[in-house]
């Protein structure tokens, strides 16, 4: 945040110049549009001139911050207070909507987060929606949390509003008798926790020819989706709907996300221009996978979560990023993708992976599955296959000790990641300062000539992580013996022979001096002992807390 005092010194000015009043109401409203509704309302108290400016603001966002979750509490006085505030808030909303209607003004955006508890609140809501539609509303966001009564029935008027371009509805019902649905300007639709059925959804989709972005989440009652002739549809997101069948024919669709837990039949072969596909499903067979992926000639990013896949083969001229996540039964993967530059694998190490890897990846990620087994030959071999990459990211270690590769393996195997320039590691538990040198030693065995090594520890307060990063610079190696044992397997001498400078940077919340001091001493000793020609070692700390 900017230090206002420093910039302006307005508090010290002798006379205060009121320059904001030069602006017409419409421009004042432009400023108010970027403020939370509470402040917008408070602006009415700035001066007489400002009293009515906010009444006709084109953006009305009565979101979660306005409505207190509890209407009742044990203290009767407090309950009265809360209820009175609620009444005043409703009055505000109504007044605002009425002002727009009375003056024939357009409402650009109306957002409402509400808990419906009585019939009165339902009829109030119907009235508000009426005002919004009369105001030629463009963006309508309704979020309902019900308490005791039935879900809110979305009035048919909403589905006939020609001005709406963005519609978001959470927690309501759609009735079967809506046959004329005409949302001729609708571009973005989001339905979640909605009670509906196949017929309504299909009528809805048929009634919005310009739809570009669709999101259907937890829509109860929806079983089969067959959307065709959606020439403008570019992105679709389907999740937790308990669908049985999904069939999409949209020639401009470029981004599809489907997460359906039940056995669900998916057909996307007619979406020829699909560039990004993310599938979380339990029932994808190897055959389905081969058939579908081969039909998507333009696919660039593919993210797959599927427990059933066993042996897969991917051959694509366009694929740039591939994520194979939690595919527990996967035993064989053959990847032939000349343009691939990002590969992320989360799974066990007993997998046969073959890569047409003439390409140097920009990023590779290996996430080990919990419980993390100890290091073994297979893990190291898998790691070496994934390591033809500039950045290698190893995640899901529980404690720092798990990162350390045992000596027996280090003595017999070549370092897997000697091409890696940036090594990143993520560990769940905060570590104990004394082990930092063992940890670093192991990482430098995995990747013997890195430019940067970053160790991240997840913590439970903002910013949710502590980081220790190492920056290395090198000079021409000086070898005092012909074949030093530390780099006998490597094409180039390791860091021990050519490390010039090390800069360690700690960004930690609640950095405690004792631990940092111990860390500094341990690391300094470690580097000077092992890098014979080291010129400089710097240890920096940046506190966040």
């Amino acid at each position: 945040m900017v230090d206002m005092e420093e910039g302006f010194n307005f508090m010290e000015k002798e006379h205060k110049i009121d320059m904001i009043s030069e602006l017409p109401d419409t421009l004042l409203q432009q400023i108010l549009c970027f403020l939370p509704i509470k402040q917008v309302v408070q602006s009415g108290m700035l001066s007489r001139r400002w009293k009515h400016v906010w009444h006709t603001i084109p953006v009305l966002e009565f979101d979660r911050t306005c409505f207190e979750p509890k209407l009742w509490c044990r203290d009767r006085k407090k309950t009265c207070q809360i209820q009175r505030k609620r009444v005043e808030l409703y009055h505000c909303v109504e007044q605002n909507l009425l002002s727009h209607c009375r003056e024939g003004l357009k409402i650009n955006k109306f957002t409402l987060f509400m808990k419906l508890s009585t019939r009165k609140s339902v009829s109030r809501l119907d009235r508000w929606i009426d005002y919004a539609i009369k105001g030629d509303i463009e963006e309508l966001n309704l979020e309902f949390y019900r308490s005791l009564c039935k879900r809110y029935l979305l009035p048919q008027r909403v589905l006939l509003a020609k001005s709406i371009t963005v519609l978001t509805v959470h927690g309501c019902r759609l009735e079967s008798r809506y046959f004329d649905i005409n949302l001729s300007s609708l571009k973005k639709l989001s339905l979640s926790e909605v009670h509906t059925n196949d017929q309504i959804i299909h009528n809805l989709v048929a009634g919005c020819p310009l739809i570009e972005d669709m999101r259907l989440e937890s829509c109860y009652g929806m079983k089969n989706i067959h959307f065709s002739a959606l020439s403008k549809l570019m992105a679709i997101n389907l999740r937790y709907n308990v669908l049985e069948k999904v069939e999409l024919e949209a020639s401009n669709l470029y981004d599809a996300y489907i997460q359906e837990n039940k056995a669900c039949e998916i057909n996307l072969i007619h979406c020829k221009n699909l560039k990004k596909l993310e599938l979380h499903t339990e029932c994808m067979t190897d055959e389905w996978f081969h058939y579908h992926i081969s039909q998507l000639a333009h696919i660039e990013k593919l993210i797959i979560h599927c427990k059933m896949l066993g042996k897969i083969k991917i051959s694509s001229q366009s694929l740039k990023a591939l994520f194979l996540l939690k595919c527990d039964k996967l035993v064989e993967v053959k990847i032939d993708t000349p343009k691939l530059c990002l590969l992320s694998y989360c799974g066990h190490s007993k997998i046969s992976l073959s890569l047409n890897a003439s390409v140097y990846f920009s990023e590779a990620c290996y996430q080990m599955v919990r419980p993390v087994d100890h290091w073994d030959v297979q893990k190291i071999e898998l790691l070496s296959k994934l390591s033809n990459s500039k950045l290698l990211y190893l995640t899901s270690f529980y404690i720092a000790k798990d990162v350390v590769v045992p000596k027996e393996l280090r003595d017999t195997l070549p370092s897997p990641s000697y091409n890696v320039k940036q090594l990143k590691v993520a560990i769940s538990q905060p570590w104990n300062g004394h082990e930092i040198d063992r940890l670093v030693d192991s990482l430098l065995w995995i990747s013997p000539l890195p430019e940067i090594v970053v160790i991240t520890y997840w913590i439970n307060v903002k910013p949710w992580k502590d980081t220790t990063s190492f920056k290395f610079s090198y000079k021409k190696p000086i070898l005092d013996e012909e074949n030093p044992s530390c780099c006998k397997f490597l094409p180039n001498p390791c860091w021990g022979h050519c490390l010039k400078t090390v800069t360690v940077e700690n960004i930690k919340v609640r950095a405690d001096e004792e631990t940092l001091k111990a860390e500094k001493e341990t690391l300094e000793k470690y580097f000077y002992e092992n890098a014979k020609f080291l010129e400089s070692f710097r240890f920096l700390c940046g506190g966040v807390g």
Partner: protein, 126 residues
Amino acid sequence: MKFCTVKQYFDDENNNNVTNGIATTVIPLPNKHLKIKANNKEMEQYEQELLRNVMPQELTKLILAANYLNFKEALDFFCRTVANAIQNKSVDYVRKFFGLESDFEPGEEEKLCKEFAWSFEGVDED
């Protein structure tokens, strides 16, 4: 497209609303904008820099200029900058920031306070 009005402005000699100084700030903006559009962090830095060099009064003039030139992105940007400067601050702070005097009757202001009591929660310290 955006700059058809710029030509108009330069042709219009009677225009006292927008000084030359302001115009030189607004006009290079489109290029800067396109470059930093994608990068949010850079936007924040640029915003902070802008606030350091420009007084609130000037911001008002910039808003007027952007509006006159029909330059929506710049208008949104300046308005958002002003909004960020007063976000979550108290009514008093905002008054001082804009150099406004409260011209309400004593009872009037109190009445408004009561009416909008629901909005007075979660405001930053001055």
